[in-house]
């Protein structure tokens, strides 16, 4: 008997309690296929309210947030770099939306593309979505936004379109299913809520552990 058969038959003996297996299978298949949503804590419906909630929660998680029009994104990036005395150079993915904002076009910023190998002061990503309930960014892997950029930069700037911003995680799951199909996921899906941190030394919370020391979010109004 294989290890999986051994484990599964032990489980089956313990839990089936005489229930016919077809019925159990149906229950499981339906739960997976229908993925019913449970409690969604917030009732906001207005876009501005959702954005306000997102900003409040993201800032509470120690991220910084800027809001701007689509023509002003690069200026916001430069402003963040200036504020923190950072070089005007960054690494980003191939996301066409980043090109649309003209980042790097005017040579005010030196941009590199591709994966991070650990030496980048600043990395830039475009978010897939965001969950206002906790000020959380949602990012997906792929050549447009390599996952290493989310973790290896000292400073991580993330651009989020206001129209992509949703209230709850459940809304993001549905958006994911629209894009990738039912039951499918990108290789890596990252929820990011603030910059990395640790309280492992003497229970003192320090921002900036192995991941970025700073997280800056630029919300682009639609």
């Amino acid at each position: 008997m294989s290890a999986s058969d051994e484990i599964l038959s032990k489980i089956r003996n313990a839990v089936t309690k005489g229930d016919n297996s077809q019925n159990r299978t149906r229950i499981v298949q339906e739960r997976i296929a229908n993925h019913p949503a449970g409690i969604r804590p917030y009732g906001h419906s207005d876009r501005t309210e959702i954005r306000k909630l997102f900003v409040e929660k993201a800032e509470a998680a120690a991220a910084s947030v800027a809001i701007c029009d689509s023509g002003d994104v690069e200026r916001q990036v430069l402003e963040f770099l200036r504020q923190h005395n950072l070089p005007t150079a960054l690494r980003m993915g191939d996301d066409p939306r980043l090109a649309e904002y003209g980042i790097g076009k005017n040579r005010l910023l030196e941009t590199a593309t591709g994966v991070s190998e650990g030496a980048d002061e600043v990395t830039l990503s475009h978010a897939f979505s965001g969950a206002a309930e906790t000020g959380t960014l949602a990012l997906v892997s792929g050549k447009d936004n390599p996952t290493t950029l989310n973790f290896l930069g000292q400073n991580h700037i993330v651009i989020l379109k206001e129209e992509d911003l949703l209230l709850h995680q459940e809304d993001i799951w549905n958006k994911l299913r629209d894009v990738y199909g039912e039951g499918k996921m990108p290789r890596t899906f990252n929820y990011i809520t603030g910059p990395s941190r640790s309280a492992d030394i003497q229970q003192t919370l320090i921002l900036g552990a192995h991941g970025p020391l700073r997280l800056h979010i630029i919300i682009v109004k639609g």
């Binding site: 999986s4 993915g93 650990g118 792929g142 929820y191 603030g194 941190r197 552990a209 991941g211």
Partner: protein, 471 residues
């Protein structure tokens, strides 16, 4: 496994002033943070109900969800390995390492790895395991076990970390800044950054396995888990079978209570969902993706009075709120899982014969159950272990004898009153006219630390009967 030495361990812990100072922090930081987080979310209690119901549903259909999960992982090009025992799981990891000729393995924080004692095994086989969670890194340097399931080095002071870093990072300048937690954290960050980038294999645990999408999920704050699983060629996930959730929505319900119960955060910084190896278009991510599904005694808990323990999502709230944990810390419990959840789980996974103190070392104050995000009735489960011990005659014979005698009397009210009146008179005699007793046979353990207040003269029932009121 030192759970059979709980009393001695506890004694040592109580006599360790540095540990006591660290525990003072646990008492305050976690408790307040969790209370505020719960209060700030009006649906928190309802979410706890949902989290409990989801886990119960999963346990009742665990075989089917595991099968679905395996199918999805395989379809995405990942590999699933089933491990009935700790030894099977260790071997599965080693086989993967061997196949890739791995010399180093970075590791995200995983309690399963602690449970199967993976690090020692890898070292014996010539593979260097590198813990990358800051707390785990510190205790690895110290060759210690974690003392808390989410804050493994919570028992260690900053001064101790400084000494450890001086000793182990001897290539760094003597006069580097080391005066505060931040500088120590940055030092570890620098050292581990190189390890991340050069590791052959990355091993993480899993907070969830999502059946719907064949996804493993880690929830972290430092970002080390992500670097562990993104940079090496191979990502190995160690997960126990009860980590399954049916779908993404179910996971979100549980996520809403997880961090709030653990650290008081609304969300941990990183919640990362991994589905198979690198895709065609991907520029980074592992080329191979393996999930090791560990049973190690869990399936034997299904269908028993201990099944509810398998709802546990490892948030640590029970130990954060436990007066016994606060007094003795995690190492006293002698195995991987401390506190109330450990006192139920350890006997379940390793045998009550080796951990007979654990279910008894509780005041049944009920605070663990009060804060458990999946509403595990921990005191009830501890009591079930006491019942097993009583049935198996594992409790000390003196205790059993006293209990017998007391029960014999308590079932005979007249005789009981005679006995208690003798006891009362005896105690009053021993008080020598003061309000308390300094010496009393059979009560030495009490009297060692506190006075025994003296009883009032005459029992309630005698006085009541004298007033002619008895019914």
């Amino acid at each position: 496994m030192r759970s059979d030495r709980f009393k001695k361990n506890a004694s040592d812990a109580l006599a360790d002033p540095q540990l006591q100072e660290a525990l003072e922090g646990v008492r305050h930081n976690f408790v307040g943070a969790r209370a505020r987080a719960a209060e700030n979310l009006s649906s928190f209690e309802d979410l706890r109900d949902n989290a409990r119901d989801i886990k119960d549903h999963v346990l009742d259909h665990l075989d089917l969800y595991l099968e679905h999960f395996e199918k999805k992982v395989t379809a995405q090009g990942g590999h699933v390995h089933w491990a009935a025992t700790a030894a099977d799981a260790r071997q599965a990891v080693l086989d993967i390492c061997r196949k890739h000729d791995a010399k180093t393995a970075t590791k995200g924080k995983s309690m399963i790895s602690e449970e199967i004692e993976l690090n020692d095994f890898l070292e014996e086989n010539g593979i260097e395991p590198i813990e990358t969670d800051l707390g785990e890194y510190i205790i690895q340097l110290r060759e210690e076990a974690p003392s808390h399931i989410i804050a493994p080095a919570v028992h260690i002071s900053m001064e101790q970390v400084r000494e450890d870093f001086r000793k182990h990072h001897s290539h760094l300048p003597e006069d580097r800044p080391m005066s505060d937690p931040r500088s120590l954290l940055l030092e570890a960050r620098g050292i581990l950054r190189d390890k991340f980038l050069s590791a052959d294999i990355g091993i993480t645990g899993a907070n969830f396995l999502v059946a719907e999408t064949g996804t493993s999920v880690i929830v972290t704050n430092e970002g080390n888990g992500d670097l562990t699983q993104t940079l090496p060629r191979v990502h190995v996930v160690l997960a126990s079978i009860e980590k399954i959730v049916p779908n993404l929505e179910d996971m979100s319900q549980i996520l809403r209570v997880l961090a709030r119960s653990a650290t008081g955060q609304e969300m941990s910084v990183y919640t990362t969902l991994s589905s198979g190896p690198r895709r065609q278009d991907d520029l980074d991510g592992p080329e191979e993706y393996h999930v090791i599904l560990l049973d190690n005694g869990r399936s034997s808990m299904l269908g028993t009075e201990f099944q509810e323990m398998l709802r546990c999502i490892r948030c640590g709230a029970c130990m954060n709120h436990c007066p016994v944990y606060h007094a003795v810390g995690g190492h006293a419990y002698g195995w991987v899982y401390p506190g109330p959840m450990g006192s139920v789980l350890t006997p379940s996974l390793t045998g009550i014969e080796h951990s007979s103190d654990l279910p008894n070392a509780s005041t049944f104050c009920g605070r663990c159950e009060q804060v458990c995000p999946v509403r595990i009735p921990l005191p009830k489960l501890l009591r079930h272990w006491r019942e097993k011990e009583f049935e198996k005659h594992l409790s000390p014979s003196s205790h059993r004898y006293n209990l017998r005698l007391w029960a014999f009397l308590a079932k005979r009210p007249r005789l009981y009153r005679l006995a208690t009146s003798i006891a009362r008179s005896g105690m009053r005699l021993m008080s020598f006219g003061s309000g308390h007793i300094k010496f009393l046979p059979l009560a030495g353990a009490w009297i060692k630390h506190r006075e025994m207040p003296v009883p009032e003269s005459g029992g309630f029932f005698a006085q009541y009967a004298r007033r002619g009121l008895g019914s």
